[in-house]
Structures are given as structure tokens and as C-alpha cells.
Amino acid sequence: MSNAAITKLRTRTAGDRRWRLIHAGLLMLERFLYSDEGRNRAAPFVRQAVSVQGNFNNLLIASLPCWLIGLWNIGYQSNRALDSLELESLAGWRGNILQGLGIGFQPDSLLACLIHGLLYFAPLFVLVLLVSAFWEALFATMRRRSPDEGLLAFAWLFTLLLPAGTPLLPVMLGVSFGMIFGKHIYGGSGFYLVNPVVVGLVFLWLAYPSVVFGPDRMIPVSGVDVSAALNSTQDWWAAFSGARPGTVGTTSVLGCVVGAGYLLITRSASGRIMLGSLLGILLAAQVFGAPALSDAPELTQLSVGQHLLSGGLTFGIVFLATDPYASCMTNPGRWIYGFSVGILAILIGLANPGVGEPVLFAIFMASLVAPLIDASIVAMHKARRRRRIDGVMDQ
């Protein structure tokens, strides 16, 4: 349906009390798909198809494959765990719903796995969205500004990086930390130093590594041996497609690659950052992969491909490292920034195997120096131009 069709429908429902809910829904859809905020309605009439909101929406749309595979994966892992424990059904309200609807717990059934996954994803996402919306509304009211764009994308990406069986209270703390100390103390979107999703998750990794991200949270069935499940799915296809225990949306490298393609086609994210990260990972895995340099001999045996397929490394460099505000703005700067994210991700992982998601810490550190990289690039550019002008003047 094109923009014009939605607008036509919306104007037809406008002003009629009976249709006001549908009208509001259409308005939201229109805003989501074709946000015209950022377009100038006065002279000089600069019009741009991509708005800030549109950019965040593209991020969200790009992560849909990861999300769908992730939903299926949660259900698949849980149902397989139930099978291996020879349980008929899951205890608790999720089990009751699945049984009441007659969906059952077959790991082979696509629908059963998807619905099962959704029952874990939905409460988590709603909670993250509500908490972040609360802070957004509070700061917008305090500062008398309209709320920032990207709230939905924040909540969405945050949830994708959490394990399905995580307790809710720490998650609320992590979201609040990300929103307050990652975003709003700097003045909101466009001013923050590090992607707030990364800040919130780094907080959770430091504060509650085992409570939030412990292996028993990855498959939310009590009594299952996750390490056995982790070892049994060490084949390449499972790791690539995402059928392995992990956080909600980051297990599927396939989904990340599709998402990266969408982001690059819509030009919502910088391909230089993604390629730079890839180069950094390639180099670091070659150079630092020697067992003597690391505390974790089993990690140094991994090839570059295995590094890319493990944890949320690919998800991080596609969706988080490319944050338009926290990454570099100059093109050479983007290469350097991406390259440092890649190298740091491997180095942190090798030096401290206890850090579960080294890419988050790598992005955190690289984002902090991103303004410095940009400033150096600009200074070098200025110096080069000055030399050229001076050369012309001397002649």
C-alpha cells in the first residue's frame, strides 16, 4: 500500500468519532512508514526521504529476520529440552496457554516453536518498552521537548540482546541505566556518546553476569543441561542459521546478514563500519590467535569463522556498532572506528573469557574515542588543504 493510499484512507476516517481508533492506527502506521518529520515545510523547501525516525524504523525492520529466527529458536530449544527431559508440558502460564490452545510442544512444528518463543519475547519486550517509554516521557516533560525518535528501536534491540529466561527486575534496572546514563544525561538522541542499548547491556553484564546472562537463562526450562545443548550444536549450519542456545535475537548470523543487506540498500547504516569491523576481526584473529597470548586456550583455537558465528558478534557489528550518533561521521574515521571495534572485540574475548559478549565492550570503548578519531581526520584534512594553499601562494 503506498503512502498516498494510506493518507487517503486516513483522511476519509478523519473527524468521524466512530472511526477514530482506526484513524489513530492509520496515523501511527503512516508515521512509522513515511515519517515526514525533518522535512522542511518552509523555504528553502529541502526535502529528504530519510528522516531520523525513518532511519530507526529501518534498523527495526532490518532486525526482523533475526527476530523471527530468534522466536523460533527459543521455542525450538525449549521444546527440545522438554523432549530430552521427557516432560509432557511446560510448567507455568506459558505451558497452560500452549496447552489450552492445543499447540503443543513439538520441536518439529514451526508454529509451536514460534508461539512458544513469542510467549517469552512479548512480556520482555513490553516491559523494556514501558520502562524506556517512562524515562523518555519523563525527560521530555522535564525538558519541554517532544520525545526522541528511536524509542521503539531501542526497546526492540535491547530485548533481542537479552536471554529469553531472564528475570525482569534486573532488566528494568538495565533499561533505566541505559536510558538515563546512556542517553538522557547527554541531552537525548543525537548527543549521546555511546549507544544507550550498549550502555544498558554493559551495565547488566557487569552488574548481573550470572543472574541475567547465566547459561540456565539461555534455555528457559528448569533442569536442562545447557552446556550439553551448547556442545551438541557446534556444527556450522546450526551456528550460522541460529539454532543454538543464546540470547533472543543474536544467535542467527543468517538473519544478521539479511539485515545488513537491508540496511545497506536503504543506506541506513554505514557499510564502511561493518567492513572495517570484519577486517579488524580477520586481522586480530590471525595475529592474536596464538595460544601463548591468551588466558583462554580453547578460544584461541577458534577460526575467524567460528568467532563470527559465536555469540552476538555479528549482531553487534551490524546493528549496534553502526549507530549513527555514537560512531564516526567521516568516511576514513568510519574505517578506523569499525576496525577498532573488530580488533577490540576479539582481544577482549581472548583476554577475558568471562566477558560473555565482548563486542558490546568493544563498541563501548570504540564509541568513546569516535569523536577523537573524527577530530583527527578533520584536523589532518585541514592541514593538508592548508599545505596545498600555502604551496600555491608561495609560487
Binding site: R41, R145, S146, P167, L173, F181, I185, P209, V211
Partner: protein
């Protein structure tokens, strides 16, 4: 005169707090606030050193040549710190081990030299003593607040006594590991500074840049 004395004692508590307004003494506030006990000992040690050095420097303020005053001030402070350090080692060896190098580092604590240089070097001993006491108490106030938050949420207890039963022992409380790490003190001190400056806007610094609300452009 009386109001001046009271002001010297009271204003450093909140209005001119050395930690939250002047942002001094942050390193010890970050380093030793993971338990309330060490924070209390540190506060006492710093307050004692501050009072002693301020009075001594105030007494000799007219005999100090201007060019060597900093050296003399640091010598006085260092002597006081060494006495405190030796006393701790003699009478409370375990506490001394917990605080390790940080008692010695009171010498470099900017609050001590700052008060000596900014106040005691120009004022009579009585009011200098009150100013030193006020600043010591202001520092202690922040230190103990931070330590209380960190110990309570980081390990679920206060002064070694259990307050929240941890989940591992059958309670509901999940210890927040981050609060035992030094970075958390930065966040907490930052939060306290934020809180105080929202309550007392006159403490706010002039903004270097004005954030232009993009809404004004966008919502036209």
C-alpha cells in the same frame, strides 16, 4: 562574628561541599567506598588531618614566605598524615591493611591542600578550624552516603551485618556486582551532584554550549 563562624562550619556541608561542588577528593571517594566501615575510618582520618593542618598553617600564616608556602603546607600535611597512618597501623592493623595506600594518599587529597591554601593561609586559627571541620564533615557526608549505597546494594549488608538476605541464601535480594567495582562510585557521585544541583540551581555551571532543541525546526 558568630554568623561567620557558623557559616565556615555549615556551608561546606551542602552548599559548598568539597566533593559535589568543587569535585575534589574524588579518588578516595571512588576507591574506598565499597564498605561503610572503611569509609568511616577514611572520613575520620581525613577530618583529623584537615583540622590539624589547617590550625597549624593558620597559626604560622604570617611567618610563611610567600614563595615557599606550598612546600611548608605540604610538609605540615604530610606530618599529620604520617602520624595518622602510624596510629592506624599500631592500634588497628587490619583496618590499616584494608585502607592500604589510601591513608598515605591523604597527603595528595586536594581538599586538604585546597583548604590550607584557600582558607587557612588567610584566616585566624579559630575560624580555620571550623572551616576544616566543616569540609571534613562535608567530605564524610558524601563518602558515607556513597558507601552506604554501594555496600547495601553490592553485598546486601551494612558494616558487615546482613540487611537483605541474598537469593543464594534463600532471600529475594540479588547482589549487584557492579556496585562493588570502583566505576559505580562515579555514577553514584554523579547522581548525587545531579540531585544537589537540581535542588540548588545556583550551583550549576554556565553551559559551554547551548543545546538547540531540534523540535523548533521539526514541528514547524
Amino acid at each position: 562574628m558568630k554568623t561567620r563562624l557558623r557559616r565556615a562550619l555549615v556551608t561546606p556541608l551542602v552548599d559548598e561541599n568539597p566533593v559535589t561542588l568543587h569535585i575534589l577528593g574524588i579518588c578516595s571517594a571512588v576507591a574506598i567506598t565499597n564498605s561503610l566501615y572503611s569509609a568511616l575510618v577514611m572520613s575520620a582520618a581525613l577530618t583529623a588531618v584537615l583540622c590539624f593542618s589547617s590550625v597549624v598553617i593558620s597559626v604560622i600564616r604570617r611567618h610563611l614566605p610567600h614563595s615557599v608556602r606550598i612546600i611548608v603546607q605540604v610538609t605540615v600535611i604530610a606530618s599529620a598524615v604520617i602520624v595518622v597512618d602510624e596510629m592506624l597501623q599500631a592500634f588497628a592493623p587490619t583496618t590499616s591493611q584494608i585502607l592500604s595506600v589510601f591513608v598515605g594518599l591523604i597527603i595528595t587529597n586536594c581538599i586538604v591542600l585546597g583548604r590550607a591554601e584557600a582558607f587557612a593561609a588567610h584566616n585566624p586559627p579559630g575560624v580555620s578550624l571550623l572551616d576544616a571541620l566543616g569540609n571534613g564533615l562535608g567530605f564524610s557526608l558524601i563518602l558515607c552516603t556513597v558507601a552506604t549505597i554501594r555496600e547495601l546494594f553490592g553485598s546486601g549488608g551494612l558494616l558487615g551485618r546482613e540487611i537483605f538476605t541474598s537469593a543464594a541464601a534463600g532471600g529475594w535480594f540479588e547482589p549487584v556486582g557492579l556496585f562493588l567495582l570502583p566505576p559505580s562510585a562515579f555514577f553514584i557521585i554523579g547522581g548525587i551532584v545531579w540531585l544537589i544541583r537540581s535542588y540548588k540551581p545556583q550551583q550549576r555551571e554556565q553551559a559551554e554550549f547551548e543545546i538547540i532543541a531540534t523540535d523548533s525546526v521539526r514541528n514547524r
